[in-house]
Symmetry: C2
Subunit: 340 residues, 2 copies
DNA sequence: TTATGTTGATGAAGCGCTTCACCAATGAGA
DNA sequence: TCTCATTGGTGAAGCGCTTCATCAACATAA
């Protein structure tokens, strides 16, 4: 383990003071350093392959260059954190963009919404990204620390937060209208808990909007609410057949659940889209990893992740309040059939 | 943003010196502090809801309580980092165990094997977990930093590294033997690049072992080597039918690829397991998220992730060299049929 | 009595970096 | 000539914590 080389060594090698080296290395603005001096420092740093000690930097500057990510709905224990591939894609993109901006991501693994504010403090997080929080969650606690917070897919009214999301209500409307356009009249809604002010509630409303527009009375017997996972979709297949309400199509508010429903139907001896048309939501990779490929509401998950990182970085640098709505569209594949 | 309270405040509140507070808070051994004094400090810390500043701690103690994770095969750009759900499960478990031990995980998102040693230095990582590295990778660089390194699913002969894995060769043998036991004779092998000394090579060998044991000559025309992803499996379905070598079964060395093959076959108008039996590898959640459910070689991914974290933590604390082989077994589901 | 431990607690020196306040030198303006 | 900016650069004080060396007080052994 070679002797760790510090800024002191760089300064010495370049024949300048530590202060000067620090200024150059940090490309500080409003600080007058001659071009040639700067070049000398940079060269020395490169030659010694100097790597700054971030702990020291953080301590002195009060900036950790670390961004926290909270995903409240992740499972307990050491179970499936990314059961929904949405998060994998999201995080991957966020990580990339954060890194490009000189930040690292600290991902909260367990249901740590409670004690996450402790991490914020101990690790001196510069900013934080929260995905899918419901009103009433413990974000308020973090808010107290005063760092920028970006809410993704959250419907929390508070000007303090930056926001990124899609128009979930409109999405629900689009998906349902698409089904209607294909001639369907009895349309099931399979979704996560549609209460509590989250995205599910919005998508549910959109579903109602479309039905209403088409002059179809809302029939609560066509609603199947439960978890946002594969199993619920699978169970719903059985339940749907048991109830026998004659649905010809289903709007499922997440691809993972849609996949469960699709496979569940097949296990029940039914086929998709012949016996039931299905439209999903998210357009995760899973949606084309099945037969038939899933028709779904596409949202650009990578873009969302990347933007979340960008917004939080900008906010850290004093950027203004952001509130972004990303575009979506229905992508037609093979799980919906047209009926005359 | 309330004034940040430090160890100084705790010490003051407890009426002791900062040193004493520090000793108590860190539960330092070999340090004589009276029980009542310790209690006072702890109480003060709790009352003030003191959270240590990890940067300061890291700087002073040279321990970051941060563990790096490198996954070399992740994609470029902001694309799919966790395209293979294996990683999600693995990381989730590793994160949990690390956290339980007072460590956080720093996950490398892009193909940073090159510059990762820079992260090791700048963030002062205490240890590192490397998944699926091939010999010749830039781990040597990191090795120079002297921190404990745990290699997961790697076949690199070097006593410096701790190792966790499964007996991939035996796994390949088990999977193939299972197929043989079900009466199959012409068995395709669909795998990632079986060269370069990685797990794929081992599984390939196991496949050969089983064939040899059964007195079946190895037929290279039954081999399909390519990427470890869904698309390759899908393509292989077409290729397999094109070649027309009469395989009745396939051993696919990863579930994600197996799923691609399974769905690909269906798209080609064939059915599984009637026209082709498939056995996968890993037993990721995807393997039961399909119809028919996938027969596969089960490995406990969560256990692997958890153990990786535990081993690196132990190593940081001076634990001895570990070299663990986790057990595996074939889990029978519905993608393999018995032929007489 | 003195020497020797033992227990409980502390002062102060950093860890490697940032940043404020300040300084020396030079040029411009009057 | 003197003053006042401007440019280029530096000294030193921390950031909040750990940890080494040291100490006071008291008990025990000789």
């Amino acid at each position: 383990m070679a002797k760790r080389i510090g800024i002191h060594d760089v300064a010495e090698a370049a024949g300048v003071s530590v202060t000067t080296a620090s200024y150059v290395l940090n490309q500080k603005a409003n600080t007058r350093i001659g071009a040639d001096t700067a070049a000398r420092v940079l060269e020395a740093a490169k030659k010694l392959s100097y790597e700054p000690n971030l702990s020291a930097r953080t301590l002195a500057s009060r900036q950790s260059k670390l961004i926290g990510v909270i995903i409240p709905m992740i499972g307990a224990g050491r179970q499936v954190m990314f059961s929904n591939p949405f998060y994998g894609d999201f995080l991957s993109a966020a990580e990339y963009t954060a890194r490009e901006n000189g930040y690292h991501l600290l991902i909260s693994g367990t249901a740590t919404d409670q004690n996450y504010s402790s991490v914020v403090k101990t690790r001196q997080l510069d900013g934080i990204i929260v995905v899918g929080a419901y009103p009433g969650d413990a974000i308020e606690e973090i808010k107290k620390t005063g760092i920028p917070i970006v809410l993704v897919d959250c419907y929390i009214e508070d000007p303090y937060f930056h926001k990124i999301g899609i128009n979930d209500r409109h999405c629900g409307y689009l998906a349902t209208r698409y089904l209607l356009e294909q001639g369907h009249r009895r349309i099931a809604l399979v979704c996560g808990e549609p209460s509590g002010g989250g995205v599910m509630e919005q998508r549910y409303r959109g579903y109602q909007d479309a039905l209403q527009e088409a002059g179809i009375a809302h029939d609560s017997r066509l609603m199947y609410a439960g978890a946002v996972d594969y199993s619920f979709g699978e169970q719903t297949a059985a339940e749907l057949l048991r109830r026998g309400n004659g649905e010809t199509a289903a709007f499922v508010t997440s691809d993972i659940t849609a996949l469960g429903l699709l496979n569940g139907m097949r296990e029940q001896g039914k086929s998709v889209p012949e016996d039931l048309s299905i439209i999903g939501f998210d357009d995760v990779s899973l949606s084309w990893m099945c037969v038939p490929k899933l028709t779904t509401v596409h949202q650009n998950i990578s873009e969302k992740g990347s933007l979340a990182a960008q917004v939080v970085v900008d906010a850290i640098h004093g950027g203004e309040k952001r509130d972004v709505m990303l575009p979506v569209h229905v992508v037609e594949r093979a799980s919906v059939r047209k009926i005359k």
